[in-house]
């Protein structure tokens, strides 16, 4: 008989207890204004290697970040994983001391929306599975993937993980946010090699609210299909091509240049946008981009940001026109608008997107882009499946990118994998060089998007 280990849900943080402790410590230290973000989680993950367990991992994590304001209105911050009373005391004292170095020109405050009603998210909480059960699932998935094609020799990158987590936001004016969440993820990246040819690799990822809800069969199918499709490859000649981005690739590209929409980056002078860019035509008139952290496809969505502001759907580009920036409390104040729910928690508060919705501005005419696009109906189309090394190949503040990609060259209605190549361009030219969209929008971990056609991008190949 086998005994399985089921990791317990994280020891619950009690928001009201934390608030009481912080208030009491704040009173002792003479801190009248404070806020706190706390998180704890329990994780279990497994990896396998050719039918054997490679590594089994478990983790219990907890952390808090405390901010304290001094009498001059300057803020300091300290983070710790020590949630003991002594740890909390040290964190608050540290934040109070760090406030001496707060920036008088840009001091964050409490979000005016930190007590506003939150959207109700449909997020079922799943009971964690036993780790040996996860292991069996992953072993079986690996075996099935290996069995799909004789050239698939290993699945060198794989993992099945589940997490139960809790996060809290509190402040000294009575804001109290709390969210519990369970998530699970599966990734399978296979390596395939045929005699005399270079190894090829590709894979797939799935997310869900629990391990039992993961689309394991779909992940195997997609990983196999993508890997096998790259087995027959050929070099591509360097030149300029019309490119069709997969939803995942285009979402990655927009994410890498999300500084375009980021009020923090605008204020810091490192965005391609300026304060007066709102209302300007950034892209073709048929492109719309929204940030919507609440989309049901966004597994692991949060209902409030690091400052307690509710997350909401926000139009960024409508008909190619820049409509809004992503804001924290401080940037919103600087722009004279309301916070948008995109803040972290810090002395200098970071701002970032949640989950993009990208697609046509409308269904017909100028709002839809070119109609009836079919990548298989034209010769010389480069179909970009996935982009790599975005951390190295994107110059966000310059607008330029030069990125390796996996993809296909389409000739005579057939797609043949490209051996090794990079795609290069400027995001501003890309946004104004869109031809149109193909197919239905696809839900991915980073957003929803159809295939996106872009004219005249530079491809460097080996042919």
């Amino acid at each position: 008989m086998r005994t399985d280990i089921i990791t317990a849900r994280p020891s619950a943080l009690h928001a009201s207890d934390l608030a009481g402790q912080l208030q009491s410590l704040a009173t002792e230290l003479g801190v009248s204004r404070w806020d706190l973000g706390a998180a704890c989680s329990t994780d279990t993950s497994v990896q396998v290697d050719r039918g054997e367990a490679k590594q089994l991992k478990g983790a219990q994590r907890s952390s808090i970040t405390v901010r304290a304001w001094n009498s001059d209105g300057l803020v300091g911050i300290t983070s710790t994983s020590d949630l003991s009373p002594a740890g909390l005391a040290r964190a608050l004292a540290g934040a109070s001391e760090a406030s001496t170095y707060g920036n008088p020109d840009d001091s964050p405050g409490f979000s005016p929306l930190a007590t506003a009603p939150l959207a109700q998210l449909e997020q079922p909480i799943s009971e964690p599975r036993g780790i040996l059960e996860l292991l069996d699932t992953l072993k079986q998935a690996e075996a099935e993937l290996l069995g799909r094609h004789p050239a698939i020799s290993t699945v060198p990158y794989n993992g099945l993980a589940q997490r139960s987590s809790q996060r809290i936001y509190l402040n000294s004016e009575g804001a109290c946010r709390e969210q519990q969440l369970s998530t699970a993820s599966l990734y399978l990246y296979a390596r395939a090699e045929e005699d005399g040819r270079k190894p090829r690799s590709s894979g797939a990822v799935r997310l869900a609210y629990g391990a039992e809800q993961l689309d394991v069969a779909g992940c195997i199918e997609e990983a196999a299909e993508r890997t096998i499709q790259h087995l027959d490859y050929a070099p591509i000649a360097t030149g300029r091509y019309t490119c069709v981005f997969s939803p995942e690739a285009f979402l990655d590209l927009i994410g890498a240049f999300s500084g375009l929409f980021n009020a923090r980056a605008v204020l810091d002078g490192v965005s391609l946008s300026q304060r007066d860019s709102l209302g300007s035509q950034l892209a073709v008139p048929f492109l719309s981009i929204h940030d919507n952290g609440l989309h049901p496809g966004n597994i692991g969505a949060t209902s409030f940001d690091g400052e307690g502001t509710p997350v909401a759907r926000l139009p960024l580009l409508e008909g190619g026109i820049l409509r809004n920036f992503l804001h924290s409390e401080a940037t919103a104040r600087a722009f004279g608008v309301a916070p948008t729910g995109h803040a972290g928690l810090g002395a200098k508060v970071s701002v970032g997107p949640h989950w993009f919705e990208i697609g046509p501005a409308g269904s017909t005419g100028e709002q839809a882009g070119a109609a009836n696009l079919d990548r298989f109906s034209q010769d010389g189309i480069v179909w970009i499946d996935s982009l790599s090394a975005l951390h190295a190949g994107v110059k966000a503040s310059q607008g330029s990118f030069s990125l390796p990609f996996d993809g296909w060259l389409i000739q005579g209605g057939e797609a043949r994998s490209i051996e090794a190549a990079t795609v290069a361009g400027d995001i501003r030219a890309v946004l104004k060089g869109l031809v149109g969209f193909e197919g239905q929008a696809k839900v991915t971990p980073d957003g929803i998007c159809p295939l996106v056609w872009v004219d005249e991008l530079s491809i460097t190949g080996d042919a």
Partner: protein, 477 residues
């Protein structure tokens, strides 16, 4: 005060006083049938600072404690991390790790544990490091000085940043084979960045410097030389044209040019890659895998280098490991699990970002050794090619294909550096590129960096002299 932090973070130092608690945990694991149990405990104290233009805009202290427990059964292992360092908390973590391998503490007496050896305390001479570091007043003043120097020496600078990070870590490693070792680590890094803009022309560049075990490092930093260097590069690159894509001979500058070896080859010489079957060099020890001009080393010993350490995260003292000698593969970089699973002996290279990660075989200070030529000879040997003065980041994929961005490049025409070019990405495969490194200069230097991989982000150095690659694919416009 934060300005004069102490090593007494939340009470106890990690030292001899932990022996009993650790022996209890290790004995329980061994008795349950584990072939090896290892406990890694850390205490950390971090400060991050950011200056923008004439203001300090972020001061971010953080501190924490935690443990990672790893249990081996043969070559299989289970790993659990926790913030609960009480005996009960550690035993709960042990139970989880044992359970992952089908073991339980109910099966007592499977293996005997002979107790921990005497503590090897590498940290004893480092107790004062943290309080010897500059305090916040001094650190913030240095950063503001740096952004002012950028303003003084730069043109068209739209944004100027200086950043500083100080990471102090106390670690204790105990294992059921008797290993019992302690260390204190101190890493400091300082960076400057500038965004130059003039109309539609933009150039963003940065420099980062880092050290280990040198509390005085920020004080010793030559901020003016760094600012002049960065501003000179920004001036060159602001109006640079995009590089034309194609295959070129390339000369890579020394220092951070070493990222090519780190990404293209170094990762493939880690036993984690052998275990996965993702390195083309797995069975090539003794074979020629690079041009005879290439000798490559990974070591943890260089004084003050970012990747140096007194012991690795498995308690083993580091070595100087010659990876490639005159083009012939000599050794792999190995950790405890790598030795168990691949047979390659440990090299003191078991490293991890924090207690949340199991150690893995990772690089330390990795460099191509100096050769006989001058940099001018390398450039002079190229009719038409690319000179890569400054590199951005890079990565290597599961099939060995690498890429990295060129931050500052110049055309080489008729053996001379001519106009600056931007937007270049170097791509290739290690197996193909290593034999094409045909010339090494005599100006080896190291540069600090961060490496992200299976066991998290760790401090490393890359390095090389100027090297010439006969041909490589350059992605551009």
């Amino acid at each position: 005060m934060l300005a004069t932090p102490t090593t007494s973070l939340t009470g106890d130092s990690l030292d001899q006083r932990w022996r009993d608690r650790l022996e209890t945990v290790l004995a329980a694991g061994a008795a349950a049938g584990a072939s090896l149990v290892e406990v890694f405990i850390e205490s950390t104290d971090h400060i991050g600072l950011l200056a923008e233009q004439e203001r300090i805009t972020n001061v971010s202290p953080a501190f924490g404690r935690g443990a990672g427990l790893r249990v081996f059964l043969g070559d299989k292992d289970g790993f659990v991390s926790t913030n609960d360092l009480s005996e009960v908390g550690l035993l709960q973590a042990l139970d989880q790790a044992l359970g992952m391998l089908g073991l339980t503490r109910a099966n007592l007496g499977a293996h005997h544990f002979d107790g921990l050896a005497a503590l090897r305390d590498h940290g004893a001479s480092k107790e004062n490091w943290l309080r010897q570091c500059p305090g916040l007043d001094e650190s913030t003043a240095r950063l503001l000085e740096a952004t002012a120097l950028l303003n003084r020496h730069g043109d068209h600078l739209q944004a100027r940043r200086g950043s500083y990070a100080r990471d102090w870590q106390e670690v204790l490693v105990a294992a059921s084979d008797g290993t019992f070792a302690r260390d204190i680590r101190l890493h400091q890094s300082v960076g400057i960045n500038a965004l130059a803009a003039d109309g539609d022309h933009r150039a963003s560049l940065g420099r980062r410097y880092g050290s280990s075990g040198r509390p005085d490092d920020l004080r010793q930093w030559d901020a003016e030389a760094s600012a002049i260097d960065l501003c000179s590069s920004a001036r060159s690159m602001l109006y640079a044209d995009y590089v034309e894509a194609g295959n070129y001979p390339v000369v890579l500058a020394n220092r951070f040019g070493g990222v090519i070896f780190h990404e293209a080859c170094g990762h493939l010489l880690e036993t984690t890659q052998v275990e996965r079957g993702t390195t083309p060099f797995a069975d090539k020890v003794g074979d020629t895998i690079a041009h005879e001009a290439v000798t490559a080393v990974d070591e943890g010993l260089s004084d003050g280098a970012f990747g140096s350490l007194s012991m690795d995260d498995e308690g083993m003292e580091p070595q100087r490991t010659v990876l490639i000698e005159n083009g012939i593969l000599q050794r792999f970089i190995s950790d405890r699990a790598g030795e168990l699973r691949t047979g390659h002996a440990r090299t003191g290279s078991g490293r991890r970002q924090s207690h949340n990660f199991a150690a893995a075989s990772r690089m330390r200070n990795t460099f191509i050794a100096a050769g006989p030529h001058t940099p001018e000879q390398l450039i002079g040997s190229v009719d038409r090619g690319l000179y890569c003065k400054s590199m951005g980041g890079g990565s290597v994929g599961p099939t060995g294909q690498f890429n990295f961005a060129v931050e500052e490049g110049y055309l080489i025409e008729d053996g001379q550096l001519t106009k600056p070019v931007k937007g270049a990405t170097l791509i290739g495969e290690a197996k193909e590129v290593m034999p094409r490194i045909s010339m090494c200069a005599n100006d080896l230097e190291l540069a600090a960096g961060f490496c992200g991989s299976v066991s998290g982000s760790i401090f490393v150095t890359v390095g090389q002299p100027h090297i010439k690659v006969d041909t490589i694919t350059v992605g551009g416009r």
